[in-house]
Protein backbone atom coordinates (compact mmCIF):
# COMPACT_ATOMS: atom_id res chain seq x y z
CA UNK A 1 0.00 0.00 0.00
CA UNK A 2 2.76 2.44 0.90
CA UNK A 3 4.23 2.08 -2.57
CA UNK A 4 1.00 3.32 -4.12
CA UNK A 5 1.75 6.65 -2.49
CA UNK A 6 5.01 6.68 -4.36
CA UNK A 7 3.22 6.00 -7.60
CA UNK A 8 0.96 8.96 -6.98
CA UNK A 9 3.95 11.17 -6.16
CA UNK A 10 5.61 10.02 -9.35
CA UNK A 11 2.44 10.60 -11.34
CA UNK A 12 2.12 14.07 -9.87
CA UNK A 13 5.69 14.88 -10.84
CA UNK A 14 5.06 13.51 -14.32
CA UNK A 15 2.05 15.76 -14.59
CA UNK A 16 4.05 18.79 -13.50
CA UNK A 17 6.83 17.91 -15.88
CA UNK A 18 4.50 18.10 -18.83
CA UNK A 19 3.49 21.67 -18.07
CA UNK A 20 4.34 24.03 -20.89
CA UNK A 21 5.74 26.65 -18.53
CA UNK A 22 8.23 24.29 -16.89
CA UNK A 23 11.55 23.51 -18.45
CA UNK A 24 11.56 19.95 -19.70
CA UNK A 25 14.83 19.23 -17.93
CA UNK A 26 14.33 21.12 -14.68
CA UNK A 27 15.89 19.19 -11.77
CA UNK A 28 13.42 16.98 -9.92
CA UNK A 29 15.03 17.13 -6.52
CA UNK A 30 12.37 15.27 -4.56
CA UNK A 31 13.36 12.00 -6.24
CA UNK A 32 16.54 10.05 -6.80
CA UNK A 33 19.97 9.73 -5.21
CA UNK A 34 23.01 7.51 -5.20
CA UNK A 35 22.73 3.82 -4.32
CA UNK A 36 24.75 0.65 -4.17
CA UNK A 37 23.75 -2.76 -5.49
CA UNK A 38 25.45 -5.83 -6.95
CA UNK A 39 26.81 -6.09 -10.46
CA UNK A 40 28.14 -9.04 -12.44
CA UNK A 41 30.29 -11.54 -10.52
CA UNK A 42 28.98 -10.09 -7.30
CA UNK A 43 30.96 -6.90 -7.63
CA UNK A 44 29.54 -3.94 -5.73
CA UNK A 45 28.03 -1.35 -8.02
CA UNK A 46 27.70 2.24 -6.90
CA UNK A 47 25.61 4.45 -9.16
CA UNK A 48 27.79 7.46 -8.43
CA UNK A 49 31.15 5.76 -8.96
CA UNK A 50 31.15 6.68 -12.66
CA UNK A 51 29.85 10.14 -13.41
CA UNK A 52 31.40 10.46 -16.84
CA UNK A 53 28.08 9.82 -18.56
CA UNK A 54 24.46 10.71 -18.11
CA UNK A 55 22.31 7.82 -16.88
CA UNK A 56 19.09 6.24 -18.09
CA UNK A 57 17.82 4.30 -15.08
CA UNK A 58 15.12 1.65 -15.32
CA UNK A 59 13.50 -0.72 -12.83
CA UNK A 60 12.32 -3.99 -14.37
CA UNK A 61 12.85 -7.73 -14.45
CA UNK A 62 14.36 -10.04 -17.00
CA UNK A 63 11.35 -12.36 -17.35
CA UNK A 64 9.29 -9.32 -18.26
CA UNK A 65 7.79 -10.16 -21.63
CA UNK A 66 6.77 -6.73 -22.88
CA UNK A 67 7.20 -3.55 -20.86
CA UNK A 68 10.92 -3.97 -20.18
CA UNK A 69 11.92 -4.83 -23.76
CA UNK A 70 9.85 -1.89 -24.96
CA UNK A 71 11.51 0.52 -22.51
CA UNK A 72 15.06 -0.68 -23.06
CA UNK A 73 14.39 -0.90 -26.79
CA UNK A 74 13.48 2.79 -26.82
CA UNK A 75 16.62 3.57 -24.83
CA UNK A 76 18.65 1.57 -27.33
CA UNK A 77 17.14 3.39 -30.31
CA UNK A 78 17.79 6.72 -28.61
CA UNK A 79 21.46 5.87 -28.13
CA UNK A 80 21.72 4.91 -31.79
CA UNK A 81 20.22 8.26 -32.77
CA UNK A 82 22.75 9.98 -30.53
CA UNK A 83 25.59 8.01 -32.08
CA UNK A 84 24.52 9.27 -35.50
CA UNK A 85 25.01 12.77 -34.11
CA UNK A 86 28.49 11.98 -32.79
CA UNK A 87 27.24 11.54 -29.21
CA UNK A 88 27.89 7.84 -28.76
CA UNK A 89 29.56 8.08 -25.33
CA UNK A 90 27.34 10.49 -23.41
CA UNK A 91 24.88 8.16 -21.72
CA UNK A 92 24.76 4.75 -20.05
CA UNK A 93 21.85 2.52 -19.13
CA UNK A 94 21.51 1.25 -15.57
CA UNK A 95 18.97 -1.56 -15.37
CA UNK A 96 17.88 -2.49 -11.85
CA UNK A 97 16.21 -5.88 -11.68
CA UNK A 98 13.54 -5.86 -8.99
CA UNK A 99 13.25 -9.66 -9.26
CA UNK A 100 16.24 -10.93 -7.27
CA UNK A 101 14.63 -14.37 -6.88
CA UNK A 102 15.11 -15.09 -10.58
CA UNK A 103 17.64 -12.53 -11.75
CA UNK A 104 21.26 -12.82 -10.79
CA UNK A 105 23.46 -9.81 -11.58
CA UNK A 106 24.77 -11.83 -14.54
CA UNK A 107 21.27 -12.30 -15.93
CA UNK A 108 20.57 -8.61 -15.44
CA UNK A 109 23.78 -7.75 -17.26
CA UNK A 110 22.98 -10.09 -20.14
CA UNK A 111 19.58 -8.45 -20.42
CA UNK A 112 21.19 -5.04 -20.89
CA UNK A 113 23.80 -6.41 -23.28
CA UNK A 114 21.09 -7.87 -25.52
CA UNK A 115 20.01 -4.34 -26.39
CA UNK A 116 23.47 -3.35 -27.58
CA UNK A 117 23.75 -0.40 -25.23
CA UNK A 118 26.54 0.71 -22.92
CA UNK A 119 25.20 -0.13 -19.52
CA UNK A 120 25.08 -2.29 -16.45
CA UNK A 121 22.52 -4.69 -15.06
CA UNK A 122 22.35 -4.87 -11.29
CA UNK A 123 20.18 -6.24 -8.54
CA UNK A 124 20.36 -6.78 -4.80
CA UNK A 125 18.51 -7.69 -1.66
CA UNK A 126 14.79 -6.98 -1.68
CA UNK A 127 14.91 -4.41 1.16
CA UNK A 128 17.60 -2.49 -0.71
CA UNK A 129 15.59 -2.59 -3.92
CA UNK A 130 12.48 -1.38 -2.10
CA UNK A 131 14.42 1.47 -0.52
CA UNK A 132 15.91 2.54 -3.84
CA UNK A 133 12.60 2.29 -5.68
CA UNK A 134 11.01 4.39 -2.94
CA UNK A 135 13.68 7.06 -3.38
CA UNK A 136 12.88 7.26 -7.08
CA UNK A 137 9.11 7.05 -6.70
CA UNK A 138 9.13 3.76 -8.56
CA UNK A 139 6.74 0.91 -7.87
CA UNK A 140 7.10 -2.84 -8.05
CA UNK A 141 5.09 -5.67 -6.61
CA UNK A 142 5.29 -9.43 -6.94
CA UNK A 143 1.96 -10.91 -8.03
CA UNK A 144 1.20 -14.60 -7.65
CA UNK A 145 -0.24 -16.20 -10.79
CA UNK A 146 -1.26 -19.58 -12.16
CA UNK A 147 0.74 -18.77 -15.29
CA UNK A 148 3.53 -21.14 -16.27
CA UNK A 149 5.76 -18.08 -15.82
CA UNK A 150 5.19 -18.45 -12.10
CA UNK A 151 4.73 -15.13 -10.38
CA UNK A 152 4.53 -11.87 -12.30
CA UNK A 153 5.89 -8.48 -11.29
CA UNK A 154 3.93 -5.27 -11.69
CA UNK A 155 6.36 -2.40 -12.07
CA UNK A 156 6.86 1.17 -13.14
CA UNK A 157 7.57 1.82 -16.80
CA UNK A 158 9.40 5.12 -16.21
CA UNK A 159 12.90 5.67 -17.52
CA UNK A 160 14.79 8.14 -15.32
CA UNK A 161 17.22 10.49 -17.02
CA UNK A 162 19.90 11.53 -14.52
CA UNK A 163 22.58 14.16 -14.98
CA UNK A 164 26.23 13.79 -13.99
CA UNK A 165 25.38 14.71 -10.40
CA UNK A 166 22.74 11.94 -10.32
CA UNK A 167 19.95 14.50 -10.21
CA UNK A 168 16.77 13.34 -11.93
CA UNK A 169 16.20 15.63 -14.91
CA UNK A 170 13.41 13.87 -16.74
CA UNK A 171 10.83 11.18 -16.04
CA UNK A 172 10.50 9.49 -19.41
CA UNK A 173 7.12 7.92 -19.98
CA UNK A 174 6.33 4.83 -21.98
CA UNK A 175 4.81 6.91 -24.77
CA UNK A 176 7.85 9.18 -25.17
CA UNK A 177 9.58 8.45 -28.46
CA UNK A 178 13.24 7.51 -28.94
CA UNK A 179 13.62 10.80 -30.82
CA UNK A 180 12.37 12.74 -27.82
CA UNK A 181 14.61 10.78 -25.47
CA UNK A 182 17.62 11.42 -27.69
CA UNK A 183 16.73 15.10 -27.78
CA UNK A 184 16.63 15.40 -23.99
CA UNK A 185 19.91 13.55 -23.63
CA UNK A 186 21.55 15.71 -26.29
CA UNK A 187 20.38 18.90 -24.60
CA UNK A 188 21.67 17.74 -21.24
CA UNK A 189 24.95 16.48 -22.63
CA UNK A 190 25.71 19.64 -24.52
CA UNK A 191 24.44 22.20 -22.02
Amino acid sequence: MRLWGLVLISAAVLGCGSGAAMDELEPITQLGGDFELLGAEGRPFALGADRSRLTLLFFGYSSCPEACPMALGRASRATRLLAERGLEDVVRVVYVSVDPERDTPEIAQSYVDAFGVVGVGVTGALPDLERIARAYGAFFEKVESDSALGYLVDHSTTLYLLDHDLVVRRLIRSDDSPEAIAGWIERLATS
Binding site: M1, W4, V7, L8, S10, A11, L14, S62, S63, P65, E66, A67, P69, M70, G73, I107, S110, Y111, A114, F139, V143, S145, D146, S147, A148, L149, L152, D154, H155, S156, T157, T158, R173, S174
Partner: protein, 158 residues
Amino acid sequence: MSRFWMARTFWLAAALVVLVTSPLVASASEGVSEGAVLEVSNPRVRTPMPGRAMTAGFAELHNPGPAEVVIVGGHCTCSKVVELHVMAEEDGVMRMRKVDQFAVPAAGTLELRPGGPHLMLIGLEGQPLEPGGEVVIELELAGGASQVVTFAVESWKS
Protein backbone atom coordinates in the same frame (compact mmCIF):
# COMPACT_ATOMS: atom_id res chain seq x y z
CA MET B 1 -8.19 6.73 -5.11
CA SER B 2 -7.95 3.65 -2.91
CA ARG B 3 -6.03 0.62 -4.04
CA PHE B 4 -9.32 -1.27 -4.22
CA TRP B 5 -10.81 1.18 -6.66
CA MET B 6 -7.57 1.42 -8.63
CA ALA B 7 -7.59 -2.35 -9.01
CA ARG B 8 -11.24 -2.32 -10.07
CA THR B 9 -10.55 0.40 -12.59
CA PHE B 10 -7.60 -1.54 -13.95
CA TRP B 11 -9.53 -4.73 -14.50
CA LEU B 12 -12.49 -2.89 -15.98
CA ALA B 13 -10.11 -1.26 -18.43
CA ALA B 14 -8.47 -4.59 -19.20
CA ALA B 15 -11.86 -6.18 -19.83
CA LEU B 16 -12.80 -3.36 -22.19
CA VAL B 17 -9.57 -3.85 -24.07
CA VAL B 18 -10.40 -7.47 -24.65
CA LEU B 19 -14.08 -6.99 -25.41
CA VAL B 20 -13.97 -3.78 -27.45
CA THR B 21 -15.61 -3.90 -30.84
CA SER B 22 -13.82 -2.30 -33.75
CA PRO B 23 -15.45 -1.37 -37.06
CA LEU B 24 -12.33 -2.57 -38.86
CA VAL B 25 -13.08 -3.83 -42.32
CA ALA B 26 -11.82 -7.36 -42.68
CA SER B 27 -8.64 -7.48 -44.66
CA ALA B 28 -7.76 -10.08 -47.24
CA SER B 29 -7.67 -13.71 -46.30
CA GLU B 30 -4.14 -13.65 -44.89
CA GLY B 31 -3.79 -16.33 -42.27
CA VAL B 32 -7.27 -17.75 -42.76
CA SER B 33 -7.53 -21.50 -42.87
CA GLU B 34 -10.23 -23.66 -44.43
CA GLY B 35 -13.42 -23.44 -42.44
CA ALA B 36 -11.94 -20.75 -40.22
CA VAL B 37 -14.18 -18.84 -37.87
CA LEU B 38 -11.84 -15.89 -37.49
CA GLU B 39 -10.14 -13.86 -40.18
CA VAL B 40 -6.58 -13.38 -39.01
CA SER B 41 -4.32 -10.58 -40.18
CA ASN B 42 -0.62 -10.06 -39.51
CA PRO B 43 -0.08 -13.06 -37.24
CA ARG B 44 3.45 -12.89 -35.86
CA VAL B 45 5.62 -14.07 -33.01
CA ARG B 46 8.96 -12.67 -31.98
CA THR B 47 12.17 -14.53 -31.57
CA PRO B 48 12.89 -14.84 -27.86
CA MET B 49 15.38 -12.53 -26.26
CA PRO B 50 18.78 -14.20 -25.79
CA GLY B 51 18.65 -16.76 -23.02
CA ARG B 52 14.87 -16.61 -22.65
CA ALA B 53 12.55 -19.54 -23.39
CA MET B 54 9.40 -17.53 -23.96
CA THR B 55 7.96 -15.11 -26.44
CA ALA B 56 4.72 -13.41 -27.41
CA GLY B 57 2.32 -13.74 -30.33
CA PHE B 58 0.24 -11.00 -31.93
CA ALA B 59 -2.40 -10.71 -34.65
CA GLU B 60 -5.61 -8.96 -35.59
CA LEU B 61 -8.54 -11.34 -35.17
CA HIS B 62 -11.68 -10.38 -37.04
CA ASN B 63 -14.94 -12.15 -36.43
CA PRO B 64 -17.25 -11.70 -39.45
CA GLY B 65 -20.00 -13.80 -37.95
CA PRO B 66 -23.14 -12.85 -36.03
CA ALA B 67 -22.05 -14.46 -32.76
CA GLU B 68 -19.18 -13.80 -30.40
CA VAL B 69 -16.18 -16.11 -30.76
CA VAL B 70 -14.34 -16.99 -27.58
CA ILE B 71 -10.74 -18.21 -27.53
CA VAL B 72 -10.05 -20.33 -24.47
CA GLY B 73 -6.48 -21.45 -25.10
CA GLY B 74 -3.89 -22.47 -27.61
CA HIS B 75 -1.35 -25.11 -28.52
CA CYS B 76 1.94 -25.00 -30.38
CA THR B 77 4.54 -27.66 -30.97
CA CYS B 78 7.09 -24.90 -30.44
CA SER B 79 6.34 -24.40 -26.75
CA LYS B 80 5.20 -26.27 -23.69
CA VAL B 81 2.41 -23.81 -23.03
CA VAL B 82 0.40 -21.16 -24.87
CA GLU B 83 -1.36 -18.77 -22.50
CA LEU B 84 -3.70 -15.82 -22.96
CA HIS B 85 -2.43 -12.66 -21.29
CA VAL B 86 -3.64 -9.09 -20.96
CA MET B 87 -1.52 -6.07 -20.16
CA ALA B 88 -2.49 -2.58 -19.18
CA GLU B 89 -0.53 0.43 -18.01
CA GLU B 90 -2.07 2.54 -15.28
CA ASP B 91 -0.42 5.54 -13.64
CA GLY B 92 2.92 4.53 -15.09
CA VAL B 93 2.71 0.94 -13.80
CA MET B 94 2.49 -2.01 -16.20
CA ARG B 95 0.46 -4.98 -15.07
CA MET B 96 0.16 -8.28 -16.88
CA ARG B 97 -2.28 -11.04 -16.02
CA LYS B 98 -3.10 -14.47 -17.38
CA VAL B 99 -6.75 -14.70 -18.38
CA ASP B 100 -8.99 -17.64 -19.24
CA GLN B 101 -10.41 -16.33 -22.49
CA PHE B 102 -10.39 -13.71 -25.20
CA ALA B 103 -13.76 -12.72 -26.65
CA VAL B 104 -13.88 -11.58 -30.27
CA PRO B 105 -17.20 -9.77 -30.66
CA ALA B 106 -19.65 -10.45 -33.46
CA ALA B 107 -18.70 -8.44 -36.55
CA GLY B 108 -15.78 -7.05 -34.57
CA THR B 109 -12.06 -7.34 -34.13
CA LEU B 110 -9.72 -8.13 -31.28
CA GLU B 111 -6.17 -6.93 -31.74
CA LEU B 112 -3.49 -8.97 -30.04
CA ARG B 113 -0.69 -6.43 -29.71
CA PRO B 114 2.37 -5.42 -27.72
CA GLY B 115 1.21 -3.75 -24.53
CA GLY B 116 -2.26 -5.28 -24.82
CA PRO B 117 -3.88 -8.71 -25.02
CA HIS B 118 -1.48 -11.25 -26.52
CA LEU B 119 -0.49 -14.90 -26.64
CA MET B 120 2.37 -16.00 -24.42
CA LEU B 121 4.44 -18.96 -25.64
CA ILE B 122 6.21 -20.29 -22.57
CA GLY B 123 8.82 -23.02 -22.50
CA LEU B 124 10.00 -22.77 -26.09
CA GLU B 125 11.36 -26.06 -27.35
CA GLY B 126 12.40 -27.74 -30.58
CA GLN B 127 13.86 -25.76 -33.44
CA PRO B 128 14.93 -22.25 -32.38
CA LEU B 129 12.70 -19.52 -33.74
CA GLU B 130 14.45 -17.62 -36.51
CA PRO B 131 13.35 -14.44 -38.27
CA GLY B 132 11.64 -15.36 -41.53
CA GLY B 133 10.42 -18.67 -40.15
CA GLU B 134 6.91 -19.74 -39.19
CA VAL B 135 5.18 -21.42 -36.29
CA VAL B 136 1.72 -22.97 -36.27
CA ILE B 137 -0.54 -22.23 -33.34
CA GLU B 138 -3.87 -23.94 -32.84
CA LEU B 139 -6.33 -21.57 -31.20
CA GLU B 140 -8.77 -23.45 -29.00
CA LEU B 141 -12.29 -22.03 -29.22
CA ALA B 142 -15.15 -22.33 -26.77
CA GLY B 143 -17.47 -25.15 -27.74
CA GLY B 144 -14.67 -27.48 -28.75
CA ALA B 145 -13.73 -26.08 -32.15
CA SER B 146 -10.25 -24.87 -32.99
CA GLN B 147 -8.52 -22.83 -35.63
CA VAL B 148 -5.03 -23.30 -36.92
CA VAL B 149 -3.07 -20.12 -37.68
CA THR B 150 0.42 -19.81 -39.11
CA PHE B 151 2.43 -17.08 -37.41
CA ALA B 152 5.44 -15.44 -39.05
CA VAL B 153 8.55 -15.20 -36.91
CA GLU B 154 10.13 -11.75 -36.62
CA SER B 155 13.06 -10.49 -34.63
CA TRP B 156 12.42 -9.43 -31.05
CA LYS B 157 14.21 -6.22 -31.97
CA SER B 158 11.62 -5.32 -34.61
